[in-house]
């Protein structure tokens, strides 16, 4: 295929992204970093270089208005991915577009559309007031005069720090600084917001309020598309429409938490029975139709709760229930539960690790 054909194809794709509702498209993104070597290795092989793969062919799309979570442990590649999106790091291969604009070729345009919330409080000027911090960045975003002052006041109001807007930032609490960082990111009315571990320095109550603010104000009222990188599964579960699980620079799975749960481990059910050791249950488990993953304490009336995973969705689950009933297993309750996301991530990472080892 000729270079012209490839570039025409990419241009077509970008145009169609602008027409459709795809806001962020990450396509086979690769980023490797040189590994720092010891003196001995450098002296032995001065020209040799070792690389660590931070992103090994990541692909996903985010639609307009979505709250998209990137989940993974520390070092999974989340921050590198965000830096590529914010055009702070150049990718080695693959492409990233925001509203159809390439983050490398059209970086200036991308910076007008996408704003990363840099969670580091030190990136604020602590000797300036919140208002002056915002005024400075408003100017850097090409806002000036009355429009700038109005936007700054709006954002101080929106983020709930208007009362302390003229106070030096050094006197702010962590939560207030986080709000100011958000306000700073919103100055240019970005359509995409990147949040990297936004609640890491907040206490549980502050984190909950901050999540409410994100959901109600940023997404619902401001209409932003939000990408959030976190290693807190509960945070992603509470906020995100969809999540991608990043492990060692590779997207292991993507979808809604429910979809992932179904796709990876089937669904989880809780069964209350008088016969937890019934042969029918043992037979279903031997055949791999169900997996008993937990057995609770027997209650005063003799009922024992069993935690089951039933791959194959609701149809298989109802067949399992019918089979138990016909085999004489006494059941008082059979209800669907949900696999905690943290456990889900662990399983996804483990299962892919095993596949990799087999390969």
């Amino acid at each position: 295929m000729s270079a012209t054909a490839i570039s025409t194809g990419a241009a077509e794709k970008n145009r169609s992204d602008r027409e459709r509702d795809v806001v962020v498209r990450v396509d086979a993104l690769v980023k490797r970093f040189a590994v720092r070597r010891g003196w001995k290795a450098m002296l032995r092989h001065p020209r040799a270089k070792e690389y660590a793969t931070a992103l090994g062919g990541v692909s996903f799309e985010v639609a307009r208005g979505e709250f998209f979570g990137l989940l993974g442990e520390n070092g999974a590649g989340k921050t590198t991915l965000f830096k590529v999106l914010a055009s702070l790091v150049t990718p080695d291969a693959g492409s990233v577009t925001v509203h159809g604009f390439d983050v490398v070729r059209d970086s200036e345009r991308v910076r007008r559309l996408l704003a990363p919330v840099i969670a580091d409080e030190r990136s604020l000027n602590w000797r300036l007031s919140a208002r002056e911090n915002l005024r400075l960045f408003a100017a850097l975003h090409d806002l000036r005069g009355a429009a700038r002052d109005q936007r700054v006041s709006e954002l101080l109001e929106l983020t709930g720090i208007a009362d302390t807007g003229d106070k030096m930032v050094g006197q702010f609490s962590s939560g207030m600084k986080q709000r100011l960082l958000i306000a700073r990111a919103l100055l240019s009315r970005p359509s995409v917001l990147l949040l990297d571990e936004p609640t890491r320095s907040l206490d549980p109550l502050g984190a909950r309020r901050f999540r409410e603010f994100l959901r109600e104000e940023i997404v619902a009222r401001q209409g932003c598309t939000v990408l959030i990188a976190t290693h807190k599964a509960e945070e992603a579960l509470e906020l995100c429409n969809r999540v991608a699980i990043l492990d060692k620079g590779v997207v292991r799975a993507a979808g809604t938490p429910e979809e992932l749960s179904r796709r990876i481990v089937g669904e989880r059910y809780r069964l209350w029975t008088l016969d937890p050791s019934h042969l029918a249950l043992a037979s279903l488990e031997t055949r791999g139709v169900i997996h008993v993953i937990g057995r609770g304490e027997r209650d005063e009336d003799g009922w024992t709760p069993l935690e089951l995973e039933i791959p194959g969705g609701p149809r298989v689950a109802s067949e399992v229930l019918a089979h138990m009933a016909s085999a004489g297993v006494t059941v008082s309750s059979f209800e669907r539960g949900r696999l905690p996301l943290a456990e889900l991530i662990e399983r996804i990472v483990e299962s892919r690790g095993k596949e990799g080892a087999r390969a």
């Binding site: 840099i118 000797r127 850097l140």
Partner: protein
């Protein structure tokens, strides 16, 4: 322009938030000039002949040297300092996420220091004039232009230093070498023709040698610009060549920093 102004304003607000430092910074200048005045008076009989082509008065001669050297130090050190500070605090990353280009950001970040130094230079020279230094005030504009050219000839060393900072997180010995050589061999405290002949070629390779000679002749003797055209021409040549080379080097360093992801790592 409004972005540059916004950055200067922010730096001004930060500067004025340290009120005590600001007052002592200006006050200490007056204290500095007085001993210089007495030492210069003591050395005047010895130096008079050597500096007769540059005003003939040692106090004015050394005062101009000190002021210029202050700007030289700033030109060499300010950019690497801004890069070091903003990389370690994360502000550089924050600036780079805006649509503002890095040169504008850097220019805005160092301008306040230059403006503040300009104010300090005015205090120094006015105090000097009060103490008896003969200043050709009518040539102030031409003198400011020459001083600007000296800064432009030395700013590239700052840009090289900033590039080294991006690559290696240190400027290495570059700033100290440039400042040290210029201080000793560029004619700050004594005219360059009194230094040993075997060092003349080093002195001739320093922009400061030409800049200071021209500046003193204009500001202390009231010489017209045309009479220092050769020195100004050589100084301009240094500025143009070094600016081009340093800008290219910095662009390469920035590209590498984006490739290696080291923009926000200290």
């Amino acid at each position: 322009m409004h972005k540059w102004l916004a950055m200067v304003r922010a730096s001004w607000l930060v500067g004025t938030s340290y009120r005590m430092a600001m007052v002592t910074s200006l006050g200490s200048l007056v204290v500095t000039v007085i001993p210089v005045y007495f030492i210069a008076r003591a050395l005047q009989p010895m130096m008079a002949k050597a500096i007769e082509s540059q005003g003939g008065e040692y106090f004015g001669f050394v005062l101009i040297g000190i002021i210029t050297f202050m700007f030289l130090g700033l030109a060499v050190n300010s950019l690497p300092g801004v890069i070091r500070g903003s990389v370690s605090s994360g502000t550089l990353e924050a600036y780079l996420t805006t649509p503002t280009r890095l040169p504008t950001v850097l220019a805005g970040a160092v301008s306040y220091d230059f403006l503040w130094s300009f104010a300090r230079a005015l205090v120094l020279i006015t105090t000097g004039a009060v103490l008896g230094a003969h200043i050709a005030w009518g040539k102030s504009l031409a003198a400011a232009g020459i001083l600007g050219l000296i800064v432009l000839a030395y700013l590239p060393f700052g840009i090289f230093g900033a590039a080294l900072m991006l690559w290696f997180r240190t400027t290495g010995p570059l700033p100290k070498a440039v400042i040290g050589l210029s201080g000793f061999l560029g004619g700050v405290y004594y005219p360059t023709h009194v230094i040993p002949s075997w060092l003349h070629s080093v002195s001739a390779a320093l922009p400061l040698t030409y800049g200071l000679r021209a500046l003193r002749r204009v500001l202390l003797e009231g010489a017209p610009l045309a009479s220092v055209a050769t020195d100004v021409g050589i100084l301009s040549g240094f500025a143009v060549v070094l600016c081009a080379l340093s800008t290219l080097t910095f662009a390469l360093a920035l590209r590498d920093a984006k490739r290696t992801g080291s923009l926000a790592q200290y």
